[in-house]
C-alpha cells in the first residue's frame, strides 16, 4: 500500500515539476520576482498593485503621461488587468494627440494596449466612470486611436485644428 502511495506521489510530482520546467522555458522570467508573479497569474491570485495604480492615476490627471505609464507598468507587470491597460492606452492617446497631427508611434502602442484591455475584459464589459475622461469604454478608445492612424482626405481639412482632445 505504502509502495503504491510512493509511486502515485512520484508520478504526480514528476508531471507537475515537468510542467513547471516547460512553463519556465515558455515564459522566460528574468528574475525570481517575475517567477512569483507568473505563478500568481497561473494560480489565479494575481492582483494589480493598487498603490502604484493610484499613483499612476494621479500622474495621469496631472498630464504626466510617461510617468503614469511607468507606474502602471509596475502596477501590472504581467499586463493582465483590463482597467490598467485601458488607462495605459488612454495615456498613449493623450500624449500622442495633436491638433495638427497625431504621433503614429504612440497611437500604435495605445492601440496594442487597448486591444489587450478588450481581450482581458471579454467576459465582462468594461466601463470606466472617470469624469476626467471623455471616452469610457475600450471600444470608443480603440475607434479613436484607429481613426488617428488612418490616412484620408479629411486629414487636409483645416477645420481639424478646432477639434478637441477627448
Amino acid at each position: 500500500m505504502q509502495h503504491k502511495l510512493i509511486q502515485s506521489v512520484g508520478v504526480a510530482w514528476t508531471i507537475l515539476y515537468a510542467l513547471f520546467v516547460i512553463w519556465i522555458y515558455a515564459t522566460e522570467p528574468r528574475s525570481f520576482k517575475e517567477v512569483a508573479t507568473g505563478a500568481q497569474v497561473m494560480a489565479g491570485t494575481y492582483e494589480v498593485d493598487r498603490e502604484k495604480f493610484e499613483e499612476g492615476l494621479s500622474l495621469f490627471h496631472a498630464e504626466q503621461f510617461r510617468a503614469a505609464r511607468d507606474d502602471w507598468a509596475r502596477a501590472d507587470p504581467e499586463q493582465r488587468d483590463a482597467l490598467t491597460q485601458f488607462y495605459i492606452a488612454y495615456a498613449f492617446y493623450r500624449e500622442g494627440w495633436g491638433r495638427v497631427y497625431s504621433d503614429d508611434a504612440l497611437f500604435r502602442q495605445g492601440l496594442e494596449a487597448v486591444n489587450r484591455s478588450i481581450n482581458l475584459s471579454q467576459n465582462e464589459r468594461l466601463r470606466v466612470d472617470d469624469p476626467d475622461l471623455q471616452m469610457h469604454t475600450p471600444a470608443e478608445l480603440k475607434a479613436e486611436l484607429e481613426q488617428g492612424l488612418e490616412r484620408s482626405v479629411d486629414d487636409l481639412n483645416p477645420l481639424k485644428v478646432f477639434r478637441e482632445r477627448k
Binding site: 503504491k4 509511486q7 506521489v9 508520478v11 514528476t14 522555458y25 528574475s31
Partner: protein
C-alpha cells in the same frame, strides 16, 4: 514495507525524477552579465541528437536495461513512472550538454562536433556501466573547464590585459567567428551544480529497477528447478565454492568427479 525497500522506492520514484528534472531546469539557465537577469536558453537541436546518442550509449553500456525498466508484466503505475524517469533522463542529458556548450558562433559548432565524434566512437566500444559513467564524467568535466573556466577567463572584462589580449588575438585568428557570449560568474556555478546533480542522478540510476532484479532471481530459481538432481548438485557445489574464480576451478576437483559420472553432463555444460 521494510525501511530499505521504502527508501529504494523513494529514490526511484521521487528523488531520481526530481534530480533529473532539476538538471533539465538549470541546464539552460544563464545569468546576464549586464543586469544579472535570468536568461533561459532552450536546448538547441544538436543537444537532442547528442542526447539520443547518449541514451543509446547508456543502453549499450548497461547503465540502463530498457527491458528491465518498462515491461508488460509491471503494473501500469510502475511503467508510467519508469517511462517518465527515462524521459526526464533524456531531457536532463540534453540540458547537461546545453549547459557546457557555448551559445553561438564557431565554438558552439566545434564543441558540438567533438561531443558528436566522441559519442559516435563510443557507440562501437565495449563499455560497462562503470566505464560509461567515468567516461561521461570526464567528457562533461573537460567541456565545463573549457567553457566556464578557460573561455570565460579569456572574455572576462575584469581580467588582466594579457588575458584580454589573448582573447582579442583568438578572435582575430578566427576572423571574428568565435562570437563568445559573456555571462555573469554565477553562470559557471549554476553549470557546475547542474553537472554534479546530473552525475549524482546517473549514479543513483539502477540498470535494473528492484522488481526486475527479483524477477531475474526467480528466473534462476525456475531454471534450477528444471535441472535433474545431478545437475542441481553441480550448481550447489559451485555456489558453495563462494566466488566465481573458485567456481571456475571446480572442474579440477569436486565438480570434475561429479561430471565424470555422466559424460552427457559435460556436453551440456555451458561455455565459460
Amino acid at each position: 514495507m521494510s525501511n530499505p525497500s521504502r527508501n529504494r522506492a523513494l529514490v526511484r520514484f521521487v528523488l531520481l525524477p526530481l534530480l533529473l528534472l532539476t538538471v533539465a531546469l538549470l541546464g539552460g539557465l544563464r545569468v546576464s552579465y549586464d543586469d544579472r537577469a535570468f536568461i533561459f536558453i532552450a536546448p538547441p537541436l544538436i543537444t537532442l541528437i547528442l542526447s539520443v546518442l547518449l541514451m543509446l550509449l547508456f543502453v549499450r553500456g548497461h547503465l540502463v536495461e530498457l527491458r528491465a525498466w518498462v515491461r508488460s508484466d509491471y503494473p501500469l503505475l510502475v511503467n508510467v513512472s519508469h517511462t517518465l524517469t527515462l524521459l526526464s533522463l533524456f531531457f536532463a542529458s540534453a540540458q547537461a550538454f546545453n549547459s557546457v556548450l557555448p551559445e553561438t558562433g564557431l565554438l558552439f559548432w566545434l564543441f558540438s562536433f567533438f561531443f558528436l565524434w566522441t559519442l559516435w566512437n563510443n557507440q562501437f566500444s565495449n563499455f560497462d556501466a562503470r566505464h560509461t559513467l567515468r567516461s561521461l564524467t570526464a567528457l562533461f568535466g573537460t567541456a565545463f573547464v573549457l567553457k566556464h573556466m578557460f573561455l570565460a577567463s579569456l572574455y572576462a572584462p575584469e581580467g588582466s590585459w594579457l588575458r584580454r589580449l589573448a582573447g582579442v588575438v583568438l578572435e582575430g585568428i578566427s576572423l571574428g567567428t568565435l562570437d563568445a557570449q559573456r555571462f555573469a560568474p554565477a553562470t559557471g556555478y549554476i553549470s557546475f551544480f547542474t553537472l554534479a546533480l546530473y552525475v549524482t542522478s546517473l549514479i543513483l540510476l539502477a540498470p535494473h529497477p528492484e522488481g526486475a532484479r527479483d524477477e531475474e532471481a526467480l528466473q534462476v530459481v525456475r531454471a534450477y528447478q528444471k535441472l535433474d538432481s545431478r545437475e542441481q548438485r553441480i550448481v550447489r557445489e559451485a555456489l558453495k565454492a563462494g566466488s566465481l574464480d573458485e567456481a571456475e576451478a571446480l572442474p579440477a576437483s569436486k565438480e570434475a568427479e561429479a561430471l565424470a559420472e555422466d559424460d552427457t553432463v559435460v556436453t551440456q555444460k555451458p561455455e565459460r
